[in-house]
């Protein structure tokens, strides 16, 4: 009887599944496959080769891409770290600060940026920097990234924290731990999977960001996405596919790590 309600036997289940997977992944597969193409054409297949990967590191655009990659990773690392620290503190305040009047409002304010169209955030951030007379450069990108990474870091951290009963901290304080010791010795280790997961998510969001970065970056300062965009404007070359494939690999590794870590339940 149970079989009748199994989703897998619904008519068209297979077709719809394959259609969805195709729409989602076909473009990525094309990019990945053609990044290994020996031809300088982006459509004609001429055999397997790693020349475009070599081109990324040694070709005419390699200096530009290396600088952009360094910027991207530095910004992602710093922005994700700072955003994770802020998100951890916010989650502690909102979820462990007892009942305070603006609790719900605080939660809303923290997660709202996820709902705001990115272009709006980009324009607003740009206007803000202009208004306070801040010269655009690497620092503006970093500040903007820290700001928009906070909600991404916050969500997994808060989700994790919500699953930790407060009796653990009470037990710690009952056993003579001060509030700070209870936080450092008990709450923080229990939250760690959420924190790492939040950090990785923030890292990847920062690494991938184009719109906001493009608005707030200074002239001559590029991150990988803006460098790729700039390069594509002069026509798509296969080296772009190689970079994209590498970036995709980094993203997949990060997301997988984040998933694996958040799945590890230290409370069991």
């Amino acid at each position: 009887m149970a079989k009748r309600y199994d989703l897998r036997v619904y008519p068209g289940f297979r077709a719809v599944t394959f259609l969805c997977l195709f729409v989602l992944y076909a473009p990525l597969v094309v990019v990945m496959v053609y990044s290994f193409n020996a031809s300088p054409s982006i459509t004609n297949w001429e055999g397997l080769s790693l020349r475009w990967y070599a081109d990324v590191f040694t070709g005419p655009e390699s200096a530009k891409f290396k600088a952009a990659a360094r910027n991207s990773f530095v910004i992602a690392l710093v922005a994700a770290s700072v955003a994770t620290a802020i998100a951890t503190l916010s989650a502690t305040a909102i979820l462990r600060g007892g009942r305070f009047r603006l609790r719900l409002v605080s939660f809303g304010l923290i997660s709202l940026p996820l709902m705001v169209p990115e272009i709006v955030t980009a324009v607003a951030t740009l206007i803000f920097f202009n208004a306070i007379g801040f010269d655009r450069g690497l620092l503006t990108i970093l500040l903007a990234h820290i700001a928009f990474c906070i909600p991404f870091a916050y969500l997994p951290i808060a989700a994790r924290m919500q699953g930790i009963e407060d009796t653990y901290e009470q037990a710690a304080m009952d056993l003579y731990a001060t509030r700070r010791q209870a936080f450092v010795r008990v709450l923080l280790p229990l939250m760690m999977p959420g924190i790492v997961s939040g950090f990785l998510l923030a890292f990847i969001v920062s690494l991938d960001d184009f719109i906001i970065t493009n608005f707030v970056k200074g002239a001559g300062v590029e991150t990988l996405p803006t460098a790729i965009f700039g390069s594509v404007k002069q026509g798509i070359r296969p080296n772009i596919m190689a970079i994209s494939t590498m970036l995709l690999a980094v993203s997949v590794v990060m997301v997988t790590l984040s998933w694996l870590i958040s799945r590890r339940d230290t409370t069991r």
Partner: protein
């Protein structure tokens, strides 16, 4: 100002309010050093609130709590020399059993080596030495329970608070742990304050019991006091099984109250303060203190008819209908059935109350 002979815990006129809701209505009680003291009551009676106030997790709205003569209201939980065994144990999942047990000592500033040594001793005491390196999740419920106990006892608190620590265990394990706890309390000499809703657990272990309901202490006394001399309806009904009979007090003489109940039956029992002549109150009689016989035994035997027998293992409960719509439960030990006469349902019997077994209840 510490006094050597002061009570371990002295709760004076403590009130706890959450907004408009009063969880505790002005409670005063004193718990002696070395005592196994139980707060017993149904859920929502305020027993856990009181325990948490002593631990420092809830503040006291009014009144004060003294620990060996010192007011502790201003002390945060980590400065109170009391430890708690939590209902769900709250063992730190990321630490080993040994680290869990040594945590309190480490927080007290003892060296890591000392904490480890002491944790080893405590684990030996609860017979879990071989599990020292495991994580709590790798232990059974009963083992976790003992780790929680060892952890709370390791820093040698002046008072140990236990918040329904046995409620998650199965019946057999719970019975074993009851005895173990009692022994542990006797051996360590630490004052135990035990919270439970299980009256049998309370009767088995406690030196004294405070029966609580609706934020008030209904009765405070030894297990025997509370069982044999319940003060009011709530206590009589909550503790054990009882027959509650509506009676009218006709006469009081020489410490005895002569009462009548519906159907022309009369009974006499000890008079109590607060119940005078003419009062309509309830009389509590434990079913094991009633006896069945074919013929009347004295002039206070109540004539009735057997309705049915209920077999409950060690005992047999017989339901007897009296005239006037009164129904009584009579319990006889199963071991006595060879000597006692069995009455078939429908048989006419007399029910006789043991001398001094009836208890008049206030309100």
């Amino acid at each position: 100002m510490s006094d050597e002979r002061a009570a371990a815990i002295d709760v004076r006129d403590a009130v706890k309010r959450y907004g408009d809701f009063t969880a505790l209505k002005r409670i005063s009680l004193s718990i002696a050093d070395n005592e196994f003291f139980t707060l017993l009551g149904p859920s929502g009676c305020g027993k856990t609130t009181l325990l948490r106030m002593i631990a420092g997790f809830e503040d006291v709205t009014e009144g004060a709590i003294f620990l060996f003569g010192d007011e502790i209201e201003t002390l945060p939980p980590h400065k109170r020399p009391v430890n708690t065994v939590f209902q769900n144990y709250a063992l730190f999942p990321h630490m080993t059993v040994q680290e869990n047990v040594g945590f309190g000592l480490e927080m007290l500033g003892r060296s890591r080596a000392e904490a480890r040594a002491r944790a080893g001793e405590m684990l030996e005491m609860v017979q879990l030495s071989q599990f020292a390196a495991r994580k709590p999740a790798q232990l059974s419920g009963g083992q976790q329970q003992r780790v929680a106990l060892a952890r709370a006892l390791a820093p040698q608190p002046k008072v140990l608070l236990l918040d329904e620590p046995l409620s998650a265990l199965d019946l057999k394990l719970r019975k074993a742990m009851q005895l173990e706890l009692k022994h542990l309390q006797r051996d360590t000499g630490i004052t135990f304050i035990f919270v439970t809703h299980d009256q049998e657990e309370a009767l088995t272990m406690s030196d004294r019991i405070a029966v609580m309901s609706a934020g008030e202490v209904q009765q405070l006394g030894t297990a025997r006091d509370i069982y044999e001399r319940p003060r009011n309806m709530f206590v009589a009904d909550f503790i054990g099984e009882t027959n509650l009979l509506e009676v009218h007090v006709d006469r009081i003489a020489e410490g005895r109250a002569l009462c009548h109940l519906g159907g022309g039956h009369a009974l006499s029992c000890d008079a109590v303060d607060g119940v005078g002549v003419g009062a309509r109150v309830h009389l509590s009689v434990r079913p094991e203190r009633l006896a069945l016989s074919a013929a009347a035994q004295g002039d206070e035997s109540l004539a009735g008819t057997v309705r049915e027998h209920v077999f409950v293992g060690t005992d047999i409960t017989t339901l007897v209908d009296l005239a006037g719509g009164i129904s009584l439960r009579v319990r006889s030990a199963n071991s006595a059935r060879a000597s006692a006469q069995m009455f078939e349902p429908g048989a006419a019997v007399h029910v006789t109350m043991e001398q001094g077994a009836g208890r008049l209840l206030v309100d």
